[in-house]
């Protein structure tokens, strides 16, 4: 039987297209440049998180500390910039966020690798540790007085639209850059393939001479780096730094990445999948808003989508004929 082979990404893309068509027909605001640009502007932070997280999932780990780590990065970077560097600029800001973010990620990697602790336990620990430290040192006080370069939005593309104009802002470009870089490392370098290999079978990778410590360091460090950048972008978008602005984001993003084909078992997942996973949930939320559905229903629907998606992707294993390997069948 010839089967159309789309893969997880293809299926997700198809669903998103169908959803967009349906929403385009049922609302008159969804399929407007303005709305679509806003969707991207609003989701760029989540997408940056997601492309970082997918690396950890591919390597067979999990991290729930990244959103809190991003808040820590915001505070540390803002304090350093304002108090010690006279405000800084975009370049210093981004480099500093990357550095602090990867440092926080490397703490996870170190604990996981050096002490052989399961990643979920380590990151539950650092999640609490980071958030606790943040609250203790800031006393829960927000920073409103952020540097000018960060305060004013940076428009990239400005198109005339029905009401005012549709504008694509800097975070979208940053998201695209981070996605391309991550995608390149994962698919176009031997190191990236070794990450897949390690996630697929850690023991086989170890025996092949893969440097396991390096894989851990890269995966969690890269997620930390992405989280740092995402944190900076979030502060830029909301024009302030609030200590508990990002906590609670980790699970929806994890869900989106899993929706995009990554598994907690490792060895699977892609940048495209992660991005589409975030996009799907965003389109659903956006659509529900435009249709006037109560926001409370959103979580319920997200939960439902995830359960349906995971069940469908397991359908292969549940159907009896697939019990036999494909090529072993006559």
């Amino acid at each position: 039987m010839p089967r159309l082979h789309l893969g997880t990404e293809g299926v997700l893309a198809a669903i998103i297209v169908v959803l967009c068509i349906v929403l385009g027909l049922t609302t008159d605001t969804f399929l407007t440049t303005q709305n679509l640009f806003d969707l991207l502007n609003n989701q760029s932070v989540n997408m940056i998180f997601a492309v970082g997280l997918v690396v950890v999932l591919i390597a067979g780990g999990i991290d729930i500390s990244f959103a809190v780590a991003a808040s820590v990065v915001q505070y540390v970077v803002m304090t350093l910039l304002i108090d010690h560097m006279g405000g800084g600029n975009w370049l210093i800001g981004i480099l500093l966020s990357m550095a602090v973010g990867s440092l926080l990620g490397l703490v996870n990697a170190f604990l996981i690798h050096r002490f052989r602790i399961v990643s979920i336990i380590v990151t539950i620990g650092t999640f609490n540790l980071y958030f606790g430290l943040l609250m203790v040192f800031t006393g829960g006080v927000s920073i409103y007085d952020i540097p000018d370069w960060l305060y004013y939005s940076v428009p990239l593309i400005d198109l005339p639209a029905a009401r005012g104009s549709a504008t694509l802002y800097l975070p979208v470009a940053v998201m695209a850059a981070m996605s391309l870089a991550t995608g390149f490392i994962l698919t176009r370098t031997g190191f990236g393939r070794a990450i897949y290999g390690f996630g697929s079978s850690p023991e086989a990778a170890r025996r092949s001479g893969v440097r396991v410590g390096l894989i851990h360091a890269f995966a969690y460090g890269w997620l930390g780096l992405c989280a740092g950048v995402a944190g900076l972008m979030q502060a830029h978008i909301v024009q302030e730094v609030v200590p508990n602005a990002l906590i609670g984001q980790e699970l929806p993003i994890l869900a989106a990445v899993v929706l995009g084909g990554a598994t907690l078992g490792g060895g699977r997942g892609s940048v495209t999948g992660a991005l589409l996973g975030v996009l799907l949930l965003a389109v659903v939320q956006n659509g529900l808003n435009l249709l006037g559905v109560t926001p409370y229903a959103f979580r319920m629907i997200v939960g439902f989508i995830i359960l349906v998606a995971i069940t469908c992707s397991n359908l292969d294993k549940l159907l009896p004929r697939r019990a036999i390997p494909k090529e072993a069948r006559p």
Binding site: G190, R193, S201, R207, E327
Partner: protein, 496 residues
């Protein structure tokens, strides 16, 4: 004289108090297929690990390779440079990656930051696949392949890495007859290309079929290296164990009382019109190629799947099994093929593993478990089956393979079955332990238990069954008695 690919002399290894290898010498000729034989724990794996650079031998060893100068140890780096590779039993592949990527994986490790192209990987993989002449698609994911195909991927991988000397650890343990034949042919073609192969296998008939010479280790010492010319299975197992093993078929016990009767039992797509009678105290050998319906039939007899036609009678009364709990209640026990994974909870204690099938029985009459009764039950079975256990509270993973096997048996025997179905009970078990397990099976039959022994090894079926039923494509193709058939003709019938 053939030239020598690898010669090792005076190799010893001490772990703590125990001397695992004692002054062993080992010689491998270029392009030969050599078997490294010996029981579990004889030092085979240790020797392989020393030759592969994983372990450092004690001082005094020398290793030489053709014309290069001798060294006192092989480092992992040396091993790679010399093209020494080991294909371990678990194959060490990456299930989520494609065949091509698995084959070129070592490139990824060697030069992690060189940009790569899928096309180049595919081309490199295809080259090796063609050189080996095997039916592999470079784009298939390894997880979608059968074990036999995965093995081919592993072989392609070491070839691609420039292997000159390949150790294969139990390569045939989970293969069917035909797959074994393919593998043996590939082994021969590699050796024709000048690659030396060291074959580690418990299946003596294969060893004799494919290897030119066999090196036997026993208790860490070298017994000797022999030509397979004129070597018999009996002689080889004698060399490995150090004592004579019986290789004669079992005397039929003249059983007449039917215990389990199958009348035209069918399950669509699996087997059809199987009629046979199992008598009290009888060992019925059930054989046939993989996929002939052996295991499927066993699943129906154990209530795990339902028949689509026919009847099942137990002690003359019709029997309908709704689940395997039903089967257990009616005195039927089934020891599955993948015992070590499915049959045991590795990190739980020996006691809990033994008692798990009878926990509700042990809770009677008061409704809670008594540690004393658990211990008594376990001790009883440990003794009856001659299991070597230091402390029954320890995890079952602390036991050797042969002893774990006994615990699996104990767990099912604790349900006091009168019909015991054994699905390939000796896969991956060494000769000495095999004999021990068959002793137990024979004793159980003598005590009146009826046993269905499923296996695709003609020799063990032939030696241990009172009667043999051969399945072919889901139907009974032959029924015979070992005392009136030779082992060779049984083998032919199975493979016909």
């Amino acid at each position: 004289m053939d030239d020598i690919a690898l010669r090792a002399e005076g190799v010893s290894k001490v772990f703590g108090q125990s001397r695992v290898l004692d002054d062993v010498s080992f010689e491998l000729r270029r392009g030969e297929v050599l078997c490294l034989a010996g029981e579990n724990g004889c030092g085979k794996s240790t020797l392989i690990k020393i030759l592969n650079g994983v372990y450092t031998p004690e001082a005094g060893a020398t290793f030489s390779f053709g014309n290069a100068t001798a060294v006192s140890r092989i480092t992992p780096h040396d091993a790679r440079a010399l093209g020494i590779h080991v294909i371990w039993q678990d194959l060490a592949l990456f299930p989520h990656l494609s065949v091509a990527e698995n084959i070129v994986f070592d490139d990824y490790v060697a030069s992690p930051w060189r940009p790569l192209s899928r096309r180049a990987a595919r081309r490199a993989a295809r080259e090796v696949i063609e050189r080996l002449g095997v039916p592999l698609d470079p784009d298939t994911r390894v997880e979608d392949l059968s074990i036999a195909r995965r093995q081919l991927v592993a072989i392609c991988r070491v070839l691609r890495a420039g292997a000159r000397i390949v150790f294969m650890d139990e390569p045939t343990a989970s293969l069917t007859r035909n797959e074994v034949q393919t593998l043996l042919e590939i082994t021969r073609s590699l050796s024709a290309q000048g690659i030396s192969i060291v074959f580690v296998s418990h299946r003596l008939s294969e060893v004799l079929a494919v290897c030119q010479r066999v090196t036997v280790l026993r208790n860490g010492a070298l017994v000797g290296t022999y030509s397979t010319e004129g070597m018999t299975q009996t002689r080889l197992s004698q060399l490995m164990t150090g004592h004579e093993l019986a290789l004669t078929p079992r005397e039929p016990n003249g059983a007449v009382e039917p215990v389990l009767e199958l009348r035209n039992l069918s399950r669509t797509g699996e087997f059809e019109n199987v009629s046979l009678t199992l008598h009290r105290g009888e060992i019925l050998g059930l054989t046939g190629l993989l996929g002939a319906g052996r295991t499927e039939l066993a699943h129906v007899l154990f209530g795990m799947t339902r028949p689509t036609g026919g009847e099942l009678l137990k002690n003359g009364k019709p029997l309908t099994l709704r689940s395997n709990r039903d089967a257990i209640r009616h005195g039927i026990a089934y020891v599955s093929e993948d015992r070590l994974n499915l049959g045991l909870v590795q990190n739980q204690s020996i006691i809990m593993n033994t008692a798990v099938t009878v926990l509700d029985e042990l809770e009677k009459p008061r409704g809670f478990l008594s540690p004393r009764r658990l211990r008594e039950l376990t001790t009883e079975w440990i003794q009856r089956l001659g299991t070597k256990v230091n402390d029954a509270e320890l995890a079952v993973s602390s036991l050797s393979g042969g002893n774990q096997q006994r615990i699996v048996l104990a767990k099912w025997l604790a349900t006091k079955p009168d019909v015991l179905i054994l699905d390939c009970p000796t896969v991956g078990v060494d000769v000495g332990a095999k004999a021990g397990i068959f002793d137990i099976i024979r004793t159980l039959a003598d005590q009146g238990m009826s046993i269905i022994l499923i296996s695709d090894e003609a020799s063990e079926i032939w030696m241990n069954s009172d009667r043999v039923v051969v399945l072919k494509a889901g139907r009974i193709s032959r029924e015979l008695t070992p005392t009136t058939t030779t082992e060779a003709s049984l083998e032919e019938i199975i493979n016909a």
